[in-house]
């Protein structure tokens, strides 16, 4: 219960700065190191993400992308270094606390329960209750309507909201996961390979969705193996190689060849 007045003040100035000058980041990672046994999964990583920005995180398998986002999401704790959201320290918080502060992670295998409907999925863990004759009951209708509103907010329409989400297409399910993040006022959405399991038209939909999120001022960390997707949706690319930062470029200042070279560890910025 400590981080009240001061941190809130930091939070608001952090916002003001980033809006005014673009220099103060929403998320700032400083000097993060993480070791698993003999493997140095993260070595002294510095990274900034600004509101309304799409940052692509690239790197070969085992480069440390997952380790990095798990530390941001509160799943793993860094050995050293610090992570701040709007100026407030968040390293050391639980995944639930990090979510409550506004960082949502959408995992590759989709964190949806296929057998439940859209409403319950969006509200899972934070269900809305009502009282019938004094007996508390789930307010499924309210959750369903609220979910429909959240989806419509992102320009998505579903015909049948009471259907288990397992019957929906991969793109629609991805959209539900994203609108859950938006509904709970995420400031930063981390997407782990959001297009990997999708067909081409659905990849298109998800990329459009990312742009709409960005337009609403949400910061996005986008992890992908697909350089075409990265160049299409990102503002900036951050390349990891064996746990360290191999380079960082504005998307307009680099090329696929250079990114591949960085992923191979050939061009190392300092």
């Amino acid at each position: 219960m400590k981080p009240s007045a001061d941190d809130n003040a930091n939070l608001s100035t952090g916002h003001a700065d980033s809006n005014a000058t673009g220099s103060s980041a929403l998320l700032s990672v400083r000097g993060i190191c993480k070791r698993f046994g003999g493997t140095q999964a993260s070595r002294d990583i510095d990274l900034d993400v600004h509101a309304g920005e799409v940052l692509a995180l690239a790197g070969d398998n085992g480069a440390g992308k997952s380790t990095l986002i798990k530390m941001i999401a509160g799943v793993n704790r860094p050995d050293s270094g610090e992570i701040r959201l709007g100026g407030q320290r968040i390293d050391g918080q639980s995944p639930q606390e990090v979510r409550d502060l506004g960082i949502e992670t959408i995992y590759q295998d989709l964190a949806l329960a296929d057998n439940l409907d859209v409403g319950v999925n969006i509200f899972l863990g934070r269900e809305r209750m009502r009282r019938v004759l004094g007996v508390p009951m789930l307010d499924r209708k309210w959750m369903r309507e609220e979910a429909a509103g959240a989806l419509e907010h992102l320009g998505i329409r579903l015909d049948n909201l009471s259907m288990p989400v397992g019957y929906l297409s991969g793109g629609q399910r991805q959209a539900i996961a994203i609108s859950r993040a938006v509904y709970w006022n995420a400031q930063l959405v981390i997407m782990d390979e959001p297009t990997a399991a999708l067909g081409v038209p659905e990849q298109r939909e998800v990329k459009d969705l990312i742009k709409r999120l960005q337009a609403k001022g949400v910061a996005i960390i986008f992890i992908s193996h697909n350089l075409t997707d990265i160049f299409e949706v990102s503002d900036r690319i951050f390349v990891l190689e064996r746990g360290r930062k191999a380079g960082e470029r504005a998307i307009g200042d680099t090329s696929e060849d250079e990114v591949v070279a960085m992923m191979m560890g050939k061009v190392i910025d300092t």
């Binding site: 639930q96 329960a113 057998n115 899972l124 209750m129 019957y167």
Partner: protein
């Protein structure tokens, strides 16, 4: 396309109701053709079917929750027996107390002792990540041995008016007391599953355990509660048994276990978890009870009930497997 999908969903969801009606019609017709009298129009037959169904349903209620969460509980058969003999032993040990009091103490002791293996199941499965099939199989053996030890290897008969009237009297001369008590418990379990957060988390754990964990659901706590609930309803089955027969038997629940599992699957649950309802389990219990009692009624050798229930289980699983395919038809994502 949507009406078609809905129609198919309705059909797959309602097949167990249809099956119940068909099976009732078959026995009614059989009764008329062989005995020239009604089967279901006879109050005694209906009461007998409901009492049989109550035994199965009690064991199946908690199990429904466990199966929806993608688990299984094999220990309930002997948890039921352990509760039945514990109740009988306690009542026998207190002959000087008024029957109401010794009955109440017997019921409390039965539930209390049944919750111990339920807790151990939860502990093994939630804390030690033992697969529920293995963990509860182990407890199947432990509770089996304990039940026979408590009973001293024999059936424990009692003479207790409260117990006998609890198991055998009828409200308004119509509804057997166990059926009424079971109905109240069933309604509460339906409420738990369909209208509370706990119920949603049980479904979420069965549908995608990771989704529940990531949504902040305390899956360890829920797993504990699941196996405690399952042990509780098994204990109720044991209490009904001791009341009905004025005797506790260590193997009281043994023949009911597989029928209870079958009732849950016939009621629409899937072995992979995530689906099932209390209403479905009620229907499943009724179907098995009608087959059991009906076959005896029409004079078939009792072994036919094993064959018939076995075939019904296979049909239930086949229908469950075609559910997804059917429901996906026309959604464009098949």
């Amino acid at each position: 396309m949507n009406t078609r999908v809905r129609l198919l969903q309705l059909l797959t969801a309602a097949w167990s109701w249809l099956f119940l009606l068909v099976i009732m019609a078959i026995f009614e017709a059989w009764s008329w053709s062989v005995y020239d009298r009604t089967f279901f129009g006879n109050l005694y037959n209906v009461q007998a079917v409901l009492l049989t169904a109550t035994q199965i349903l009690m064991m199946a209620l908690g199990l429904t929750f466990v199966i929806i969460a993608a688990g299984i509980d094999l220990s309930i058969g002997f948890i039921c027996g352990l509760a039945a003999v514990t109740m009988a032993v306690v009542i026998r040990a207190l002959p000087e107390l008024p029957p109401e009091l010794s009955f109440t103490l017997g019921v409390i002791a039965a539930i209390a002792i049944a919750l111990i293996p339920g807790f151990v199941n939860g502990w093994l499965i939630a804390k030690w990540k033992v697969p529920s099939f293995i963990g509860t199989l182990g407890m199947f053996g432990v509770t089996r041995g304990m039940a026979f030890l408590v009973a001293g290897g024999a059936t424990v008969s009692i003479r207790n008016d409260t117990a006998r009237s609890f198991g055998n009297s009828r409200v308004f001369d119509i509804i057997p007391v166990p059926v009424l008590v079971a109905a109240v418990i069933t309604l509460y379990f339906h409420y738990l599953l369909a209208h509370t957060r706990f119920g949603v988390y049980v479904y979420a754990m069965g549908g995608n355990l990771q989704s529940a964990v990531r949504a902040g659901v305390n899956t360890t706590r829920i797993t504990f509660m699941l196996f405690m609930l399952s042990a509780f309803t098994a204990a109720m089955a044991g209490i009904f048994y001791t009341g009905r027969f004025s005797a506790g038997a260590a193997d009281a629940g043994e023949p009911i276990l597989l029928n209870a599992v079958a009732a849950v699957f016939i009621g629409g649950a899937s072995l992979s978890g995530g689906s099932g309802t209390i209403a479905g389990t009620v229907i499943g219990s009724l179907i098995i009870a009608i087959i059991q009692f009906g076959l005896v009624f029409i004079g078939m050798p009792p072994f036919w009930q094993f064959i018939t229930v076995g075939l019904v289980i296979i049909v239930a699983v086949l229908i469950d497997q075609s559910k997804d395919r059917l429901a996906r038809l026309g959604t464009g994502s098949a």
